[in-house]
Assembly symmetry: C2
Homo-oligomer: 200 residues x 2
């Protein structure tokens, strides 16, 4: 399983329902990310070792399972990228930490794109519950950048925060299209935008 | 059919084979873009009004049809974005024209993402023939930016060209995730990178 979609916690296994749910979420995280959102219910249940009947007792539909699986992965993905709460890091260091980590995540051979951007592109309906999760992830990342810049004198930190999120999206998309990002490109692009905004 | 996937020329219709091929490419361009690359051969043939036998006489597989359909759309998509050959435009104006046009393309209600980035994310195999087409499109865009900057004194125009392509990818991805790009964001981000590179 990819580091991007690895759940943040091991399954509890203390209750059968929890275990079934966890196995379904694990299977969904793996198969949706590696093979795409059009993977069938049968393949999901086979990998989870769960009957379709059990799946439909826990999730209304495959779409709900996909959304729940993406939602569960958000804290882990953010933890891969965001710095720990270190008061010694400057606003610039806080931001660049994300792009340094992003370059490491992208360089992993199992990387298939940002799971939230990718699911948003694959699912054509903007109202799909997984796309709602993707927007929340996106907003969390922008909110982190905005908070990181809150003690700078940047006149328009909301704009800079959106630009930095755009660099995250662009770097992950580029890595998929080209098969590689190119060393240092995400950090160099974020650095240029920080320089331009006067965040030294 | 979306403006993004509209073929650059009307079908000739002079020969039956050409017409069948054109109808298949039109159907593929529309269905793959609007519904995703997992659309079935039956739906493609039904929309094209062509038998499966006729399709397989012209294309080895659905994958080949998808690649041919993407390949056919590249000149039209580039024409939507790139400026005409106007010697009065400065390097900065040439580059910013792309992002001004990109914002118009993205604002079209039929926009579902850059067709090449999107297909690359949906098709999980890097060797898929459509992903080879997507990489060529990507390289063409980067080559345009590099050529546009050739008369500047930018010390590393290959880096700036890659950064500008990353902004294209990020803007199209962001527009899909958020349902909108945000007015002026692509132009503002490209402008900041040009300022940073000293391209006034």
């Amino acid at each position: 399983m990819s580091s991007v979609t690895t759940p943040p916690e091991a399954p509890s296994g203390s209750l059968e329902v929890a275990s079934t749910r966890t196995r379904l979420l694990d299977a969904a995280a793996h198969l949706f990310y590696d093979q795409g959102v059009h993977i069938g219910v049968e393949a999901l249940c086979r990998r989870a070792g769960v009957s379709k009947r059990s799946m439909y007792q826990l999730f209304e539909s495959k779409d709900d399972l996909l959304a729940a699986s993406l939602e569960r992965s958000v804290p882990g993905y953010l933890a891969l990228l965001l710095p720990t709460d270190d008061p010694q890091l400057s606003p610039r260091q806080l931001v660049l930490h994300v792009f340094e980590r992003l370059e490491v995540v992208i360089a992993d051979p199992s990387f298939r794109g940002c799971p939230y951007v990718s699911a948003s592109m694959e699912l054509k309906s903007p109202e799909h519950p997984a796309r709602v999760v993707a927007r929340r992830f996106h907003d969390s990342l922008t909110a982190f950048f905005s908070a990181a810049l809150s003690e700078t004198e940047t006149p328009d930190r909301e704009l800079v925060a959106k630009q930095l999120t755009l660099v995250h999206d662009g770097a992950t998309a580029r890595a998929v299209v080209q098969g590689a990002l190119g060393p240092g490109l995400a950090v160099a692009t974020a650095s240029a935008l920080l320089d331009h905004a006067g965040i030294g």
